[in-house]
Symmetry: C2
Subunit: 376 residues, 2 copies
């Protein structure tokens, strides 16, 4: 089966470049691709075939002495309907197959080159986070705080663009969630939502002043080189109720347990169940992965896109494999400390990005995990 | 014909909200939509129908006393193939029609509410730009300069997310193009490209120091409320060759001519031709809208997305209509001053966002148009 890639993330995966056009794989996903490029009009790669439209591809293949495919794999889960129909017509003799799932599964296992890039991301991401406490000023809003974090990330080399799968998860450079806003449900499949600053982008910081007794959860963009890393840390404004510190320690305990059981072959659905059962054992089930709205996962693959497979969720049929990179993000949203006060605390918990090695999970985002109290 | 909207931008257009789910219009685009919402699980809109999956919609329609459609309009240019097929199966009795073009054309004409929002965007966008000259420091790289502009835009209320049509035009908060980098072809349909900081995001600033004798073209995000404004201004580091100032004045002259001829009924293709002919008359055709790679348009509609219809391009069949909002962006890329030196200057020119009124074009981005020389 030949495969014609048109999705930007998939093209970048196979070619290490971004262009408007197609990457043609004559027989299998493992092939060296033939690049059919519409734009840019100059690309410093040998053998590039410049085209104006996909209808020129069959003639170009013939020129290259390549047979037209009997079966054509297309990314039917990503390609717009009209474009898929158009590409089918370009190869009228070919039977079309959907290769989206196959590609998402292939992309789960990172190459040594990809692992090197993600390691670099994680290192830079963690380094930028170590500058976060210095950015806080008393009386700041969550957005003001986020703006300073964005600047520091960009100064450390973050590209400022968060690539997600599926076109639905719109976000700016990330999520800074303070106090009650952490419990506002959002349309997106992020672990924790937030109302956002505007109804057009209903996620993340909402512009409220960060007051004592609340937390700030920072989950910002880690794309420094086309690959993502995912890293969340929690900060406190003033003193928190003991309950919040406790829940944060439970989140850390969940990570330690998952690190312990996470070896190649382990079913990711059981990692999810393990995390939920620890939260339940500590009486925290109703706050785990959200409160008014709960996320149905505790982690996810990370790569070119932020939300790759495997999803660490109850119905996932994937098992850990060497070379996967996954983010694990046990988080609790605490709307008010039970039987003490009704003041919402916010989100606690954390997120690390891990490489699955033969020996188990290697944390690539090694920066202190404790709640840091922010002071001027 | 009933229409089932699934595209986020289209849903936002009809409902003023963003959610995961569908907006169902029983008879036409003008209908009040019935909202079928998957996520978030709370939305403060009366009459919201919460669903887990689209297969529940027909039963919900029956409950609401609504007939199932004989013809179903779907966004076939935007919906992924698999999702379109799935939605077709949800309404097995319905004949499916592609409503993408119809919606893009309806969205060309802005409502009074939309015009108010875009006016507000343009005002804030222009206000933020007036802070740009103060951000420059000698020896800055283009990315360092862009980071400071991003921060100022965000401080003025910019949401930091640039919504584009088609899923291909990936970009961070915008484009800052200095010197030779302005002539580097990019895969995207932006008027001017740039190589970017990384091969994974090959557009815009590339990290080079901004040296005397070059320009900096600033074309940054104007999304303050879910609607975009589009605004470009050019700055100089030190003195530029006279040729560059001249080309910039030609770009301003093009805008004045287009403002003069741009009344309702005027074919946008003729606006394009007018712009090209002025550039040609001044001997600047080879630099117009790029040099190594030239863009095939001089402007575009602006709204929820940055690149809406009409496209001001030679093959466009649209005419100006009252209520359209368009950005006009005559730009020149000057690789080296002919017969003087071979040092590349960069891009000159500008971009304003206009409302088409009964009387002609109203500039919504009124801020000085001259090249400003940047000094510490």
């Amino acid at each position: 089966m030949a495969i014609l890639l048109a999705d930007t993330a998939n093209i970048f995966w196979k070619t290490h470049r971004v262009f408007r056009g197609y990457a043609y794989l004559p027989h299998s996903l493992a092939d060296e691709p033939v690049l059919f490029v519409i734009r840019p009009n100059e690309l410093d790669i040998p053998g590039v075939q410049y085209i104006r439209k996909p209808e020129q591809i069959p003639a170009k293949l013939e020129e290259l002495g390549m047979e037209l495919p009997a079966t054509l794999g297309l990314e039917l889960d990503e390609l717009p309907y009209s474009q898929a129909i158009r590409l089918q017509k370009v190869f009228p003799g070919a039977k079309v197959e959907n290769v989206s799932v196959r590609i998402r599964e292939a992309r789960m296992i990172k190459t040594p080159r990809e692992i090197k890039l993600i390691r670099e991301d994680c290192r830079k991401h963690a380094m930028a986070y170590e500058r976060i406490p210095k950015l806080y000023r008393t009386g700041m809003s969550d957005i003001e705080f986020q703006i300073e974090i964005e600047r520091v990330l960009r100064q450390e080399g973050c590209l400022g663009y968060l690539r997600t799968y599926g076109g639905m998860m719109e976000i700016n450079m990330g999520s800074v969630l303070n106090g009650a806003n952490a419990d506002v449900p959002s349309p997106y499949d992020f672990a924790v939502g937030g109302g956002g600053a505007d109804l057009s982008l209903p996620v993340g910081a909402d512009g409220e002043i960060m007051n004592p007794g609340t937390t700030v959860m920072v989950d910002m963009n880690g794309n420094f080189n086309g690959y993502q890393s995912d890293l969340t840390r929690t900060y406190a404004i003033g003193d928190l109720p003991q309950f919040a510190y406790h829940a944060h320690e439970v989140a850390r305990h969940i990570l330690r347990e998952l690190e312990h059981i996470g070896v190649p072959g382990y079913p990711v659905a059981e990692m999810y169940q393990k995390a939920v059962s620890i939260a339940r054992d500590h009486g925290l089930a109703e706050y785990f992965m959200g409160h008014r709205q709960q996320a149905g996962f505790i982690g996810h693959g990370v790569g070119i896109q932020l939300n790759e497979w495997p999803v660490i969720a109850p119905k996932s049929r994937h098992r850990l494999e060497e070379g996967m990179v996954i983010a694990l993000e046990p988080k609790f949203v605490i709307p008010a400390v039970p039987s003490k006060t009704h003041k919402p605390v916010g989100a606690v918990g954390l997120e690390n990005t891990y490489l699955v090695t033969a020996d188990g999970l290697e944390n690539l985002t090694t920066t202190p995990e404790e709640i840091v109290t922010l002071i001027d």
